[in-house]
Symmetry: C2
Subunit: 499 residues, 2 copies
């Protein structure tokens, strides 16, 4: 199966001689078609799946990370600054844990205090892709993070904080970083600043980047080329594809318009409805103009207030010798860990981490509307988001929290996804949060099909094409929804979880 030939996007003035050359020079339509084709064409076999898992298991011994929980007071290099009321590194680098007082009028909980991570630097999450044998491959890294419960997971080619690559750690150089330093050398497939968890990070953004190289790239130890379709299929394996990979994958173009005929199925199956959802020409229930207006309205009217308070003064939170915990024991804890690692830039360090209490749930309700799959997205305000409110999963919560509270507080649509009959469940896998900051913190990823035309002022039905268009820009789609977008796309891969 051949990949449609598309020029490499050089500006037209570099050699073209007429107006049509200017249009072709764009490449703007070329990239999405080619990527979408690659995703939908290269799912790989069951043997390929087994092979990648075997490779990761073998590396688990070499890339060992031993993480011990220690008292927060006794973290080497970190101290509680009583003046600032924060936990900080003695270098002033990396990140701080701070106290935040949040006011969100109109929310079911209109004000609360919480610890939050303040890490103002922009990290890089970058995947190198390359065509080989007619198939687009992603250069993936087996990476162990201290918060991972299972050792190594599949990570982007580069997953680095600014501290990593500017040498604050005093560690080894970051492999393949130079490929991203001058992106003009390559074809940029995706390049956008995206938010991190708005409940746990204050105004944190990472650069999500996919570049396509044409030249040979030497393979370093712990790295592997994986077909982009197979990578999507691996999302169905528990705790295997890490959060950073999932957010980068979500930024790949979804468009399927212009795909070869075999993808423009006239069938009535779920995968057909999904493919149509990625194609602008199939239409959508609410125009993007109206969705943006809804978002503008909420942002313009937002009365959110965010005030820094010392950690010691946080209402409802108390500090034990071991950790900072909520009075009820719910939500999350701030803990300290000592890490001994092999195969990383730095062999040993200590750091605070956030540890969620209970397994989270992120879920999309999806529905076929005239044969086009639509996703029910929520417009959700979170204290750490620079844009205040972003599009979020239909359900995003920790279900264990809710038996204890009045049903008034029970999240909308929680029961619709938890009680769905098994034949309506399209995706159901527990996947890890980012293991560099979050300890054994995981969320069940659920995609549930419904035939109910739910309506709610804080929710809209949107297509994959609409979400994908907004994912070219910052501050529209939160990290939990991005993770689910990658999972949803995997359902269009032949041989995928329920494909």
């Amino acid at each position: 199966m051949s990949i449609p030939a598309i020029g490499h996007g050089e500006p037209a003035h570099a050699g073209a001689a007429d107006v049509s050359a200017l249009s072709r020079g764009l490449g703007a339509r070329g990239v999405p078609v080619r990527i979408a084709h690659a995703v939908h064409a290269s799912g790989g076999s069951a043997a390929d799946l087994v092979d990648v898992r075997g490779w990761l298991q073998a590396l688990n011994a070499q890339l060992r990370t031993d993480t011990d929980i220690v008292a927060l007071d006794r973290l080497s290099g970190w101290h509680h600054d009583p003046g600032a009321g924060t936990i900080a590194h003695h270098s002033g680098k990396f990140f701080t844990v701070e106290g935040l007082r949040v006011g969100l009028p109109g929310n079911v909980v209109p004000e609360w205090d919480q610890p939050i991570i303040n890490q103002p630097e922009v990290g890089l999450l970058g995947i190198i892709v390359r065509e080989s044998g007619g198939v687009l491959h992603c250069l993936m890294q087996a990476k162990a993070e201290p918060g991972n419960r299972n050792g190594v997971q599949l990570s982007p080619t580069v997953q680095a904080t600014r501290s990593n690559y500017t040498g604050v750690h005093g560690g080894k150089p970051v492999p393949y970083l130079d490929h991203f330093a001058d992106s003009t050398r390559h074809r940029v497939v995706a390049d956008v600043l995206q938010s991190e968890q708005g409940a746990w990070f204050l105004h944190k953004r990472n650069r999500n980047m996919v570049i396509e190289v044409r030249e040979e790239v030497p393979l370093e130890a712990g790295f592997r080329w994986i077909p982009v379709g197979l990578l999507h299929r691996l999302l169905a394996v528990e705790d295997l594809v890490n959060m950073d990979t999932r957010t980068v994958l979500s930024c790949l173009p979804f468009s399927t318009s212009g795909l070869p005929g075999e993808f423009e199925s006239s069938g009535s199956g779920f995968a057909t409805a999904l493919l149509r959802s990625g194609d602008e020409d199939w239409g959508c229930l609410h125009s993007t103009r109206d969705v943006l207006s809804w978002l503008t309205d909420v942002r313009a009217g937002s009365q959110i207030s965010r005030e820094r308070v010392p950690l010691a003064d946080l209402s409802e939170w108390r500090r034990t010798e071991r950790a900072i915990v909520h009075r009820t024991g719910r939500f999350f804890e701030v803990i300290g860990v000592n890490v001994r690692a092999t195969g990383r830039e730095v062999a040993q360090w200590s750091q605070p981490m956030f540890a969620a209490v209970g397994t989270g749930l992120v879920a999309f309700l999806v529905r076929r509307v005239y044969g086009v799959l639509h996703i029910l997205v929520q417009l959700r305000s979170e204290p750490g988001l620079a844009g205040v409110a972003e599009l979020a999963p239909t359900v995003q919560c920790t279900p264990d929290t809710y038996p204890h509270v009045p049903s008034l507080l029970r999240p909308h649509f929680l029961d619709d996804v938890l009680d769905a009959p098994s034949e309506n469940i399209r995706f159901d896998t527990v996947l890890s949060d980012e293991g560099g900051r979050f300890y054994h913190t995981r969320s069940r990823h659920l995609i549930v099909e419904t035939d109910q035309a739910h309506e709610h002022p804080n929710y809209r039905w949107m297509t994959c094409h609409q979400l994908s268009s907004l994912l070219q820009h910052s501050d529209y789609v939160n990290v939990q929804a991005r993770s689910l977008v990658a999972c949803l796309r995997s359902l269009a891969v032949p041989g995928g979880p329920r494909g």
Copy 2:
């Protein structure tokens, strides 16, 4: 000449019965075509121009605003708070004038201090449009602002801070505000938060909104329906169309694809190249993907630092009895004014204002590339922008500042626009900054055609379609560039300045 009939964008599930209805339900492509058609079809006659100017002159007597400069220390209701180091209103509302210390490594001036306006609330700039006799009309207001040097200017239907419409002023209700309160009643043509002057406002955004109504709207005193094409032609009149109107107009869709044949000119004139520039199908020199990547790169690597310092501690600035001024007398002054107004919500008040020293210059260099007009845009970092860097005019400066400094600091392309032969000047009008905060502050708006293929790492050639697409989102195009986008579009209006 008939306007193409387009459905009103109801969601398809409201009654449609097949897949094609879902696509049509969108209206996503319908709105731009219709608006572009209206702009390019309804320039009006010379008599219409004279008529609007006569109306404004007549209103100048009724809507009189007398503004007296008074000592900053003696502003009624405002005080210098020595603890916070700011100038604030006793109510804590409206805005404060604060001191900012800016670090911008790599800039020709890598650090400086300055006063800045902190007004965290989101204002509304809204224009109501309505079709009448086959022509789209804008409901415009003749509004006098204390900073205007010429009394009334043409203002959006609603131009209101949150303080205005939540009654902090204790003044009269804002006319037509209710039309914008529930935008679902109307067709939304544009609705986006846009930044204000990043050199003078800290993180200020206004909601730029255009709604199309179908029902009759009663005309209040001081308001007038003006055809959208005529409104664009009025941009060629000095100090007539105010800044708020210009930024809202810039958010109108530019797309001309699908216009009736008469607009798809095969000629070789400037207007033809401009119309093609608004049409995605004609292509562009750099793909939007590459432009966004360039922006992401600059934002991700930005080392800008912003620190609040008390006004009294600002280096190089001193406080006289009258004002806060720079040691050199350049840049701008913070002054105080007493205002007596007729025909406004509040009859009398005092406030601080910024007064620029010298007339500013904002200029686009434009060039035909294979018959498609391209604009040379700058990626410019400004201390008050939430997004750090936005697309800006080719030249944005106060030319008087530069005879006094070494030529190293002279802005790029300044001489290209100032020394351009008159036959290459497509637009040249002095227009006012927003008169609610800025006193007698004006910029010469210049659009100059060149045949030089200038290249510079901080600049890119972009089409109108590309800018227009980005203008659907926040934080991409700064207010000076938006003002020029409206002026550029006026050149496509038959009978326009150089049309």
